[in-house]
């Protein structure tokens, strides 16, 4: 009988510090590397988590990230108590962004984050309530 894998990682994502944005994704990526998962899968997980983490920093003043790795999947949950997304279908459109110019000057805010998260995950679920916050759940099958 083989051992069942279940690794849980949790991170605080600091919303006041753009420079440190991506640290959680970086840590998850090195964990996935240590587990010896296929590089293409690791890259997809890194992309979707990093886009989601950046979104929490630039749109929601930070939040928390939960990552669970089992034998079947990588599941990434990003929770914030930011302003929420009033129209998710609109937010999902390529190029749609409410990011201010100063964020664009930093290389983000092209409105490609959510489309990237959809493209590179096997499932993407967004729950959001204006004024209350947003929870993004993504899964990548192993």
């Amino acid at each position: 009988m083989s051992e069942k894998r279940r690794i849980v990682l949790e991170f605080d994502v600091d919303g006041d510090n753009f420079v440190s944005a991506g640290k959680a994704s970086e840590a998850v990526k090195s964990n996935l590397k240590m587990l010896g998962l296929p590089p293409a899968l690791i890259r997809r997980a890194a992309i979707v988590m990093y886009e989601g983490e950046i979104n929490m920093v630039i749109h929601a003043k930070g939040g928390r990230a939960y990552v669970e790795i089992t034998d079947q999947e990588i599941s990434i949950t990003l929770k914030d108590v930011g302003p929420g997304i009033p129209d998710i279908d609109l937010a999902m459109q390529e190029g749609y962004s409410t990011a201010p110019d100063e964020i664009r000057a930093l290389g983000f805010g092209a409105g490609m984050g959510l489309p990237n998260m959809k493209k590179y995950s096997d499932s993407l679920e967004i729950q959001s309530e204006p004024g209350k916050g947003t929870t993004v759940k993504m899964k990548i099958k192993l």
Partner: protein, 117 residues
């Protein structure tokens, strides 16, 4: 194409990880928008950019990018260099502008990989 060849073509100054310049680059991407990079980059790429903040290196690390070229003589901050060193990403700076840098690399056989949308 070897990273050292890229440095030669672009007359670039290598800023860190010069022990890795014999590594091969398989494709190239030029952008100042990190989400574009996250959307389209292929394996073992070089990123050509005019953007100098640490998120460039974070993006590069997520995409397994092995080399970042800063154009217009730009130089990254100390934190970018430190991050790149810890991830073995070669950084270099070239006096050429983005358009020229891309043109030079392309004409020497460095094509973009499957960068078409």
């Amino acid at each position: 194409m070897k990273i050292s060849k890229i440095a030669e073509i672009l007359e670039a100054e290598v800023l860190c990880c010069d022990g890795h310049t014999e590594n091969e680059v398989m494709s190239a991407c030029a952008s100042d928008m990190m989400s574009d990079v996250l959307a389209f980059v292929k394996d073992h790429a070089v990123l050509i950019t005019g953007l100098c903040n640490p998120q460039v290196i974070r993006t590069a690390e997520m995409m397994d990018i092995v080399c970042v070229v800063y154009v217009r003589g730009k130089k990254p901050d100390a934190m970018s260099i430190e991050l790149a060193e810890s991830k073995n990403i070669v950084l270099m700076t070239s006096k050429y502008r983005m358009y020229q840098a891309c043109g030079l690399l392309f004409s020497q056989g460095m094509h973009g990989g499957d960068c078409l949308i």
